[in-house]
């Protein structure tokens, strides 16, 4: 970069500088806003497709997805204004409009970066019935076993997430235990050699379920009835 302190014969008048900067700002503003507006629909559509794909993967019988938020005041469809501390979740319905399950996201720091998972919750069984990985940057061949290892995925076919008597906390916190030592339905058997990533998955689910379920379960009756498919 040239040294800007060199003595100049004629320095540019401020008026010219302001005019140019104004022109640049206007052009750039127009470009950004047009790009934003032009792509808004396409981006929203992409996100909807990605979400549906992820939810259909963890809740196989699903045919449509609706997004809700659960707050201290109850459940409401996702809108532009969200109450403080509300947790987002997805309700999946089959072709006839019956509720097939709930899906929610969990995230925790793994080995390299955040591990994001989508888990399926069955209100009838009060258990997690499926797991899908949304995004992760874990070590290929080691950390990425979380979506290929059949034994690990079996953990999430009936993971107990019952609430305790006063419906404020999970009766038993989800725990990730050493490979081969799983004894209770609320424990997750870690993948041998990929403990950090396994623990991230467990932690993500635990935090998300502990926040969401106490808000969701008391109101879950609303989901099966009040929605059109």
């Amino acid at each position: 970069m040239e040294n800007l302190d060199l003595p100049q014969v004629a320095s540019t008048p401020s008026g010219a500088m302001i005019r140019t900067l104004g022109l640049v700002a206007t052009i750039c503003g127009l470009l950004i806003v047009s790009a934003y507006q032009g792509t808004l629909e396409a981006v929203a559509e992409n996100k909807r497709i990605a979400l549906e794909r992820a939810v259909f993967k963890v809740i196989p019988k699903a045919a449509s997805v609706k997004t809700f938020v659960a707050g201290s005041g109850g459940i409401q469809p996702e809108g532009t204004t969200q109450p403080e501390g509300a947790v987002k979740f997805y309700a999946a319905y089959d072709a006839t409009g019956a509720l097939q399950g709930i899906a929610a996201e969990g995230a925790a720091k793994g080995y390299a970066d955040t591990v994001r998972v989508l888990y399926a919750y069955d209100p009838a069984k009060q258990a997690i019935t499926g797991l899908g990985v949304v995004s992760m940057r874990e070590t290929p061949g080691i950390g990425d076993k979380i979506y290929t290892d059949a034994a690990f995925l079996k953990n999430f076919e009936a993971l107990d997430v019952r609430l305790n008597a006063d419906m404020k906390y999970l009766a038993h916190a989800i725990k990730v235990v050493k490979h081969g030592t799983k004894q209770s339905p609320w424990e997750i058997d870690a993948i041998a050699g990929a403990t950090v990533t396994s623990k991230a998955v467990g932690k993500g689910i635990q935090e998300s379920a502990a926040r969401l379920l106490p808000l969701l379960v008391p109101e879950q009756g609303k989901l099966t009835t009040a929605v059109e498919p």
Binding site: M1, I32, A107, K109, G110, Y111, T114, V196, K199, E207
Partner: protein, 194 residues
């Protein structure tokens, strides 16, 4: 995501070192790191700018979100960073001309240092709180300085060694960086929570 401050600090300093694991701040890392006594001031100046950038990014993000102008976020960040670097330059020129001359062209180049913008972008993406963001920036800067110092020390030693001509220069720095990065992988999982 409630990450503890110490976990962020140790994790970003060692396991997810800005230079050796996240590939941020490579231009100065490969360029400035030839001498030990410029490495430390460079690292310090960059760390300071990173802290300022982190502060401003936190405020700007709040403002941009409140006004629903997310598409202006990137421009706002980069303009703030450019201004911060300009201020640091003026400050150094006035108070420490020796340092100013020693850092030379690399001082204004801190504006285009991926590490500085990287701090702002990553803390926004991870939705860190104010304290978490500051810790992240401090650790990132410290990690950057650490990597810079290590590389400078190694290259100073290698200047006296018999290195084949074909390898000299950036190729050598990259190989060294690869080995350092490999070594730092030993820190993996540090600070990853209980």
């Amino acid at each position: 995501m409630p990450e503890s401050l110490s976990s962020i600090f140790i994790g970003t300093l060692l396991a997810n070192n800005f230079v050796l694991a996240m590939f941020l701040g490579l231009c100065p890392f490969l360029g400035v790191s030839a001498r030990l006594n410029t490495a430390l001031p460079m690292g310090a100046a960059t760390t300071f700018v990173m802290l300022v950038a982190s502060l401003c990014a936190y405020g700007l993000n709040w403002l941009v979100t409140a006004l629903d102008l997310q598409f202006l976020r990137l421009i706002a960040y980069i303009v703030i960073i450019a201004s911060a670097v300009q201020l640091v330059e003026m400050f150094l020129k006035k108070n420490s001309p020796v340092l100013f001359r020693a850092l030379g062209i690399y001082l204004p180049l801190i504006t285009t240092n991926c590490a500085v913008l990287g701090v702002a972008l990553f803390q926004t993406a991870r939705e860190y709180s104010f304290l978490q963001a500051l810790t992240f920036a401090a650790a990132g800067g410290a990690g950057f300085t650490l990597a810079l110092t290590l590389m400078a020390g190694l290259r100073e030693r290698l200047n006296l060694a018999n290195v084949p001509n074909v390898v000299q220069g950036t190729a050598l720095s990259l190989m060294l960086a690869g080995l350092l990065s490999l070594a730092f992988m030993g820190f993996a999982g540090l600070g990853a929570g209980e």
